[in-house]
C-alpha cells in the first residue's frame, strides 16, 4: 500500500469536511435559514391579504384595472425569469397589483351578474382546500408524467389565449371557446380543471422544498407560485360562472 493512499482517499472523499466544495448542499444551511411548511403557508397568507387589499382598491377605483394588470404581468415575469431569491420583494408587489386588477374585473362581472363574485371566491377557496386535503392524504399523487401532462395542457391553453388576444387585436376571435354554448362551457370546465391541478404541483413544490431544506427565500417563491395559480383559477371560475348565467 502506498504511503499516500490515505491522502488520496481522503482527497476524493464525499465527506464535506474533507473537501473544498463545502456549502454546495441545502443541508449545509443552518436550520433557521431553511424553507419550512409553516413559513410558506404564512407567506401565502400575507400574499392573500395583500391581494384582498388590492382588490378593495381596484373595486373602488376601476380605472386602475388595466395598469395594475400590466404591472402585475411584468412583476410576475421578473419573479419567474430573474431569480427566485428576489421573490421576497417582487411577490408582495405582484399580489397587490393583481389584487387591484381582480377588484376591477370582479366589479365588471358583478355589475352584469349580481352575486357572481362571492360564488367565484367561495369556489376558488373550496377547490384550494379540497385539493390540499387530497394531496396531503395521498389521494392525488403527482408524478413526472402528471407534471408533464399538466405543464403541456397549461402551455397549450396559454398559447390558445395568446393567439386569441392577437386575433382580437385585429377584430377577430377564435369561435366557440368564448361562447356560452355547451362547447364554451366545456372548454371553461377543462381550463378550470387544469388550473386546479396546477395547485397540486404547487403543494408538491412547497412540500419537497421544505423536505429538502431549500433556502428560506423559496418560501416566498412557493407562495408566489400558489398565488399565480389561485388568481388564474379565480378568473377562470368567474368566466365559467358568467357563461353559465348568461345562457
Amino acid at each position: 500500500m502506498s504511503k499516500h493512499s490515505a491522502l488520496n482517499t481522503f482527497g476524493r472523499s464525499g465527506n464535506p469536511a474533507f473537501t473544498k466544495n463545502f456549502g454546495g448542499s441545502a443541508y449545509d444551511l443552518p436550520l433557521n435559514q431553511r424553507m419550512t411548511l409553516d413559513g410558506a403557508v404564512n407567506k401565502t397568507g400575507i400574499l392573500l391579504g395583500l391581494c384582498f387589499t388590492g382588490a378593495f382598491v381596484g373595486w373602488n377605483m376601476p380605472t386602475l384595472t388595466m395598469p395594475a394588470w400590466i404591472i402585475g404581468i411584468i412583476l410576475g415575469f421578473v419573479t419567474i425569469f430573474r431569480s427566485p431569491a428576489k421573490s421576497g420583494s417582487t411577490a408582495p408587489l405582484y399580489a397587490l397589483s393583481q389584487g387591484i386588477f381582480l377588484g376591477g374585473i370582479t366589479l365588471f362581472f358583478e355589475a352584469q351578474f349580481p352575486g357572481i363574485a362571492i360564488q367565484a371566491i367561495g369556489l376558488t377557496f373550496g377547490i384550494l382546500a379540497s385539493l390540499l386535503f387530497c394531496y396531503k392524504s395521498g389521494l392525488i399523487k403527482p408524478t413526472e408524467n402528471f407534471r408533464l401532462m399538466i405543464f403541456s395542457a397549461t402551455m397549450g391553453i396559454a398559447l390558445l389565449y395568446f393567439i386569441s388576444i392577437m386575433i382580437g387585436l385585429f377584430g377577430g376571435g377564435i369561435p366557440l371557446i368564448h361562447s356560452n354554448g355547451l362547447f364554451g362551457i366545456g372548454f371553461s370546465l377543462f381550463v378550470v380543471s387544469i388550473a386546479a391541478l396546477n395547485l397540486v404541483l404547487d403543494f408538491d413544490f412547497i412540500e419537497e422544498g421544505a423536505e429538502k431544506g431549500m433556502p428560506k427565500y423559496m418560501e416566498w417563491y412557493g407562495a408566489f407560485a400558489l398565488m399565480v395559480t389561485l388568481i388564474w383559477l379565480y378568473l377562470e371560475i368567474l368566466r365559467l360562472l358568467a357563461k353559465m348565467r348568461s345562457r
Partner: protein, 61 residues
C-alpha cells in the same frame, strides 16, 4: 343566502388551508419511488470514494 353560503365556504376553506397546509403530507404521499425530483438529491453522502486495500500485519511491520 348566496352570500352566506359561498362566504362561509370561502372562510372555512381558508381556515382549512392555513392549518392543513402546515401539516406534513402523509407517508403514502412522501414515501414513493415515483415522486417528482425538482431539487436533485440534496442529502450529503457518507460514502467515501476510493479503492480499499487489505492491510496485513506483515505490511505494517
Amino acid at each position: 343566502m348566496n352570500t352566506i353560503i359561498f362566504g362561509a365556504l370561502a372562510v372555512i376553506s381558508l381556515f382549512i388551508f392555513l392549518n392543513l397546509g402546515k401539516v406534513k403530507a402523509s407517508r403514502k404521499q412522501l414515501n414513493r419511488n415515483n415522486r417528482i425530483n425538482r431539487f436533485g438529491n440534496q442529502e450529503s453522502s457518507n460514502i467515501i470514494e476510493g479503492e480499499s486495500t487489505e492491510i496485513k500485519n506483515q505490511d505494517k511491520q
